[in-house]
């Protein structure tokens, strides 16, 4: 095959195997021992540290960094995992620039925070490489809990429940566990099958049964689970995708960014993945950025990200925007799609500039056409297939306290539940906290 970035249409192998391997290698190569010590020495061990407050899972960051600095990396990993059992993945995918590292006092002092994310990865990777699992299950409680969804929320919930001695069965609609860790997230943030390896490592706690290819509403029902288990946790994520509501949306070449990313994550051979010459991504969140950057890395000649509001309103962080820009992605702000042009397959996207008045947006009347043979929609995901027994609120499962839904003995957390940002780390916190509440409820009721 002799495709290049200039080959028209949506075709595979625009780049050679070596270029692809380089493009999709680790975004931040892991710190070696020396780098970790130098980075750790910059931590001031702040009192009631702002980084801890900024972390949705409240990891004791100064403590684990001090443990790295004093040569006890296993203890550092324990400190992390006690709060966040998916600390390895969070170290890779957390937008640290808007969480712990933004709060770091050395960001205030010098504009250069302590490399908290990379230090966390150093600690967690070290322990996981040694195949250690630093937790032991409590004596069996005799209670059984069903967890629906093996994403970050479900896995964190299952681990914490298993730790307390409960038997847990985790159901997931997909063939593999991991949720967005496995099927979402840019490849270069989770290389070498890390998501799957992390799940295997997490399951070492024991007491967790994984049942994949079991979709809620198709293979299992909430009513059935409530009958069979002492408690149910719903961590089903957001599987619906918003429609573009532009003319010509059905033309060939228009696809959901989440599917594009999932296909990429599951591909054995990146050279076999087709990508357009002129790719347009619509949206302004992390999914949009991930899809745009990866299109470029696959060899698309032109990748343009169209966002309807201005830069400051963009949900993706400035760091992520800069990452995309550095990979050659072009941003067009204040523009919205009007119509997918083409004869059968898409050839261009007609857009209209927008103006904002408060929260409302309107077109200015000025339009422009972007050449586009592939258009990826990343304009938000929605809750799909929520059980009727639980009350919804703002399109998500309504929860109070530590993930309690309107239904007895049913908890929910992660992206599908109301409240909190839709981040891996937030999902972990919600799953963990729900597990503690479930545990307290089950033991209290015993």
């Amino acid at each position: 095959m002799t495709n290049t970035p200039f080959t028209p249409g949506i075709v595979p192998a625009r780049l050679g195997a070596q270029d692809l391997a380089e493009n999709f290698s680790d975004l931040h190569p892991p710190l070696d021992g020396h780098e970790a010590l130098v980075a750790a020495d910059r931590c001031y061990f702040c009192h009631d540290a702002p980084c801890i407050t900024a972390c949705p899972t409240a990891i004791d960051i100064p403590l684990f960094i001090r443990q790295i600095a004093t040569g006890t990396t296993a203890s550092a990993a324990q400190t992390i995992f006690e709060q966040n059992i998916l600390g390895g993945m969070c170290a890779r995918v957390c937008p640290t620039e808007t969480l712990c590292e933004e709060a770091c006092v050395r960001e205030t002092a010098e504009g250069k925070p302590v490399l908290i994310g990379q230090l966390q990865r150093f600690a967690t990777d070290s322990l996981m490489a040694a195949d250690g699992h630093p937790f032991e299950r409590a004596a069996p409680s005799g209670k059984r809990v069903a967890v629906v969804g093996a994403g970050p929320a479900g896995l964190a919930c299952a681990h914490r429940l298993a730790l307390h001695g409960h038997d847990v069965e985790v159901f997931d609609a997909r063939p593999k566990a991991g949720g967005l860790n496995e099927y979402g997230i840019a490849s270069y943030k989770s290389t070498n099958g890390f998501a799957a390896a992390e799940v295997s490592w997490l399951l070492k706690i024991g007491g967790i049964t994984l049942s994949t290819d079991k979709a809620l509403g198709r293979d299992i029902t909430l009513e059935g689970l409530r009958g069979e288990f002492d408690a149910v946790f719903l961590g089903i994520g957001l599987t619906g995708v918003n429609a573009l509501r532009a003319e010509g949306e059905a033309r060939d070449g228009v696809a959901d960014a989440v599917e594009f990313i999932a296909d990429l994550r599951q591909a054995d051979d990146l050279g076999a993945l087709p990508v357009g010459r002129n790719v347009v991504v619509i949206g302004g969140g992390m999914t949009a950025i991930d899809a745009a950057v990866q299109s470029k890395l696959l060899g698309a000649e032109n990748v343009t990200l169209v966002y309807r509001r201005d830069r400051d309103a963009m949900p993706a962080s400035r760091y992520e925007q800069d990452l995309a820009t550095s990979r050659g992605v072009r941003f067009i702000f204040n523009a919205m799609p009007l119509e997918v042009l083409g004869n059968g397959a898409a050839t261009a996207l007609r857009c209209e500039y927008t103006k904002a008045e408060g929260r409302s947006l309107s077109g200015t009347g000025e339009t422009f056409d972007l050449p586009a043979d592939q258009i990826l929609k990343a304009i938000g995901q929605t809750l799909e297939g929520a059980p009727e027994a639980v009350r919804l609120e703002g399109g998500k499962i309504a929860v109070t306290g530590a993930g309690r839904t309107s239904a007895d003995n049913v908890w929910a957390g992660g992206d599908c539940a109301s409240g909190g940002e839709d981040l891996t780390v937030t999902a972990v916190a919600e799953g963990r906290d729900a597990a503690e509440d479930i545990h307290a409820t089950l033991i209290g009721g015993a």
Partner: protein
């Protein structure tokens, strides 16, 4: 550019920075390179009697570190020169002839017997060296053979050997003192009584830097065993400064020239030694850590400082000595309070943790991490200043006379009053009635 030319007990050098007697000065090759790099003088690594001593064939140094593996303290178990006397004498003579403007001091350590000193002194004098330094300081190895610190710890020996040296050579005599004693003034007085022209201090401090927690051997480890070594580097500077000041302000040794040694790493360290009465400084660990080039910063820094102060090198020497006093004479009517510069504060909270957990609960912390001093509790202990990572963010500010100290409710007095007259002092001297 300030004139850095130094005249220490008649020994002239282009600047007051000498390399101390140690591995950097143990042979012609090093010393020539040091002179090329700009050092004002050297104290040649200690000569001894033949047959020359031997060193261990394993590690000789141990270290402790600060953040980013910055070397703060170094200890060594190396002995005096392990080369034949004749080799050293020949090289000293050659270097001095080639570098007449640099100070060449020869360190000597031979047994505490008159004949030994009587024998070696003319040999050293013949090299054309500018002076000698008596090594009464090394705390390891040689002290077990009755030399080094074993001499420096007995004032009578110091006086005796110093007197022999003044008798058998016309060269100026510097006595190098060990800090491994309880009161540095006694050996200094002994050196003066013996006729020494100057003292140099401090030599290294007996130390074990670390223990290997796998092999349970002290470091540096020689075949699983360790021995105490001599400690030096930035960590010992405060000890050295105190001892230099003790000698500088002792009436019995007043005016005795001092060559300051101990952790001099930057021009600033050197200036502090000079201000406390040292006539020049000797450097070793900093050169061993960073190489000979550091003398450039020391020279440019000291020069810039003198220019900015508008004073000469001689003006600097001893300038701080009158301000060193005993605790009982400190002014108890001086009242200060900590002040936090909110613009400079990075909100790390270390001042709060330090004050709240370990001091006087005199710093408050708000929801938004604003840290403020509670004047009614602040005793001005300075711990917050010391633990703050931002230089200048927290300062101690004096309350002016007439202000009220919110901690005591008392008006700040403009008068000086110390412990000797304090009512709580059982031995207080009553004011004249």
């Amino acid at each position: 550019m300030a004139d850095l030319t130094s005249n220490f007990i008649g020994i002239k050098s282009p600047n007051p920075f000498w390399l101390a007697s140690a591995p950097p000065t143990d042979k012609e090759y090093n010393v020539v390179r040091a002179f090329k790099a700009g050092w004002g003088g050297v104290v040649w690594k200690t000569l001894g009697e033949d047959p020359n001593v031997v060193n261990v064939n394993g590690p000789r140094y141990g270290a402790i570190y600060g953040a980013d593996r910055r070397l703060l303290g170094l200890n060594n178990i190396e002995l005096i020169t392990d080369r034949p006397l004749e080799t050293n004498l020949r090289e000293i003579k050659a270097v001095k002839a080639a570098w007449p403007d640099r100070a060449m001091i020869v360190s000597i350590m031979v047994p505490c017997e008159e004949a030994s000193w009587k024998y070696i002194l003319p040999l050293v004098e013949e090299t054309g060296a500018d002076g000698i330094e008596l090594n009464f300081g090394c705390p390891h190895g040689m002290s077990e053979r009755g030399m080094g610190a074993a001499v420096g710890q007995v004032p009578e020996y110091i006086e005796m050997v110093a007197r022999w040296c003044k008798q058998y050579t016309r060269m100026p005599v510097i006595v190098k003192l060990t800090p491994n004693i309880t009161d540095i003034r006694y050996p200094a007085r002994a050196a003066k009584s013996g006729g020494a022209d100057a003292v140099s201090l401090i030599n290294t401090i007996s130390s074990i830097t670390s223990v290997n927690l796998d092999t349970f051997s002290p470091e540096p480890s020689i075949d699983g065993k360790g021995s105490h070594g001599g400690y030096c580097g930035p960590a010992v500077k405060p000890i050295a400064l105190n001892m230099v000041a003790d000698i500088a302000r002792d009436v019995e040794t007043a005016g005795l020239p001092i060559s300051g040694i101990g952790g001099v790493t930057t021009w600033r360290d050197a200036a502090e030694f000079l201000a406390l009465g040292a006539g020049n400084v000797q450097v070793c660990t900093a050169a061993m850590t960073y190489g000979f080039k550091i003398v450039e910063e020391m020279k440019s820094g000291l020069s810039q400082y003198l220019d900015e102060q508008g004073i000469s090198l001689d003006d600097l020497i001893g300038r701080a000595v009158p301000n060193v006093t005993d605790w009982q004479y400190l002014n108890l009517n001086y009242i200060a309070k900590a002040r936090i510069d909110q613009d400079a504060c990075i909100k790390c909270g270390r001042c709060y943790a330090a004050c709240e957990d370990t001091s006087h609960q005199a710093i408050s912390m708000s929801e938004d991490r604003t840290f403020e001093v509670i004047d009614a509790e602040c005793v001005a202990c300075n711990l917050c200043v010391n633990v703050c990572p931002v230089e200048g963010c927290i300062t101690m500010e004096e309350l002016a006379a007439g202000e009220t100290d919110p901690r005591t409710g008392k008006t700040v007095s403009a008068d000086y009053a110390n412990w000797t007259t304090h009512p709580n002092n059982p031995g207080a001297v009553k004011a004249a009635e």
